[in-house]
């Protein structure tokens, strides 16, 4: 997500007076987000903590997070893109037809009020969750909300941040970007990176049957992917590295048990705001770490690859 208008959670804590959660339920999925970073903490420029902040929740249903919100806006499912686009228009003072807004489940007055509040904020944040990025519109929704945040900067300071889920998914994006230039779905078959979501993304590759072996590490696609994708994983040689015997392990040719990240495996993990943090494991695992096993597989593959024949220059050609 290069180019996105964002910040760290420390800045949110110290500066943000207007916080919007869109399509996420932090009270249940990120339980300490409110208390550690966004709502209740006092910050350098937020001397009174919660009293100095306004929190808005936008979602398709009233989740437990709504209790923490000052304003709850219930949008009709799959209408997020329309709402964001309307907000972008309202912020710029463009006319919006009342009946066009009605289909979103919200009223023009509600959106007008939100647009005004966003413009009046000193430092606003849009946190968006999977309810926005994984429903109809998908990455178009994410792009729209990032654009909304960027455009609000014509009036005040505004940023956006995705509410990433567990483990080190953020680190995955960052490390891929740093090593290959792209955040996911990178094809290295030609010796240089090529990026094309829809072509090189895992579900598509598996459903089309394009790949003929799979190494699964730190995920369990056998439990989460569509059935045709799982069927292909069972057809080809699949190798799993995981601390547990997963659904994928059961259909794999090879499973290697590894130490649990953060509990018995040391290393670095990225927070959702792309801040890297060191792990401090409390236990010693009887199993090797993923890092170690991957390095050993790397060495074993390298030992199999015969060195390329030396290139001999035949000398200048007489003309």
């Amino acid at each position: 997500m290069g180019g996105k208008v964002s910040c760290t959670l420390g800045e949110v804590k110290n500066r943000a007076d207007f916080i919007v959660y869109w399509g996420g339920n932090p009270a249940e999925c990120h339980p300490r987000h409110f208390t550690k970073y966004t709502l209740t903490q006092k910050g350098k420029f937020i001397p009174n903590g919660r009293k100095d902040r306004t929190m808005v929740l936008v979602d398709i249903r009233e989740t437990p997070s709504a209790k923490a919100a000052d304003i709850f806006l219930q949008v009709r499912p799959s209408k997020d893109f329309e709402v964001i686009t309307t907000l972008r228009a309202l912020i710029k003072g463009q006319p919006v037809a009342r009946d066009m807004v009605a289909e979103t489940g919200l009223t023009l007055d509600q959106l007008q009020d939100l647009a005004e509040r966003m413009k009046r904020a000193r430092f606003g944040v849009l946190f968006f969750g999977m309810g926005l990025s994984m429903t109809r519109g998908k990455h178009m929704n994410s792009a729209a909300i990032l654009t909304l945040a960027a455009e609000l900067n014509a009036f005040t300071k505004f940023v956006a941040m995705p509410m990433r889920g567990h483990g080190n998914v953020t680190g995955g994006d960052v490390i891929m970007r740093w090593t290959t230039g792209y955040p996911f779905g990178v094809n290295l078959a030609r010796g240089y990176p090529r990026f094309n979501p829809g072509e090189f993304s895992t579900v598509d590759l598996l459903i089309r049957g394009d790949c003929d072996a799979a190494l699964i590490v730190g995920a369990d696609p056998g439990a989460t992917m569509p059935q045709p994708a799982i069927d292909h994983l069972a057809r080809i040689p699949t190798i799993v590295l995981d601390p547990k015997l997963t659904h994928t392990s059961r259909l794999a040719r090879v499973h290697i048990t590894t130490a649990v990240t953060g509990i018995s495996a040391p290393g670095t993990v990225y927070r959702m705001d792309e801040i890297p943090l060191p792990l401090r494991p409390a236990l010693k695992s009887p199993y090797p770490t993923d890092e170690e096993v991957l390095r050993r597989i790397h060495m074993a593959v390298a030992a199999r690859s015969r060195p390329a024949p030396p290139v001999v220059w035949p000398g200048p050609v007489a003309v």
């Binding site: 483990g167 680190g171 790397h298």
Partner: protein
């Protein structure tokens, strides 16, 4: 039994990655957590240092890590378009190794983000 205390431990259960957790552990399991939320506390307590699973399996049969590493290398080396997928619940250092392996075997590397 003497407990080891780890201060400022890092929880990776959700994207908050809280790094202010205190853990009390014996050599087998984490018995007490401070500052973690319910999700984090149960995550810390649910994993132990016990040997609950075989170290490796090849075609469903128990094997050594050495054998499994060789088998994995064989399959990945022979494949025309191998896929390296996941990278969610592993460290950045392991992610870097996975990408480097994908480059060596000429494969596709992809994460949860593509879903």
């Amino acid at each position: 039994m003497e407990l080891t205390v780890v201060k400022n431990a890092t929880c990776t259960f959700c994207g908050c990655v809280c790094d202010d957790i205190e853990l009390h552990a014996d050599h087998r399991r984490i018995v007490h957590t401070k500052a973690a939320c319910v999700l984090g506390a149960s995550w810390f307590k649910n994993h132990t240092a016990e040997r609950l699973y075989p170290e490796a399996l090849i075609d469903g049969r128990e094997a050594t890590v050495d054998e499994a590493v060789e088998a994995a290398a064989h399959y990945l080396h022979d494949a025309a378009l191998p896929l390296v997928y996941g990278l969610s619940n592993i460290t950045c250092e392991a992610q870097r190794e996975a990408i480097s392996l994908a480059e060596l075997i000429g494969g596709v590397v992809d994460s949860h983000t593509s879903l």
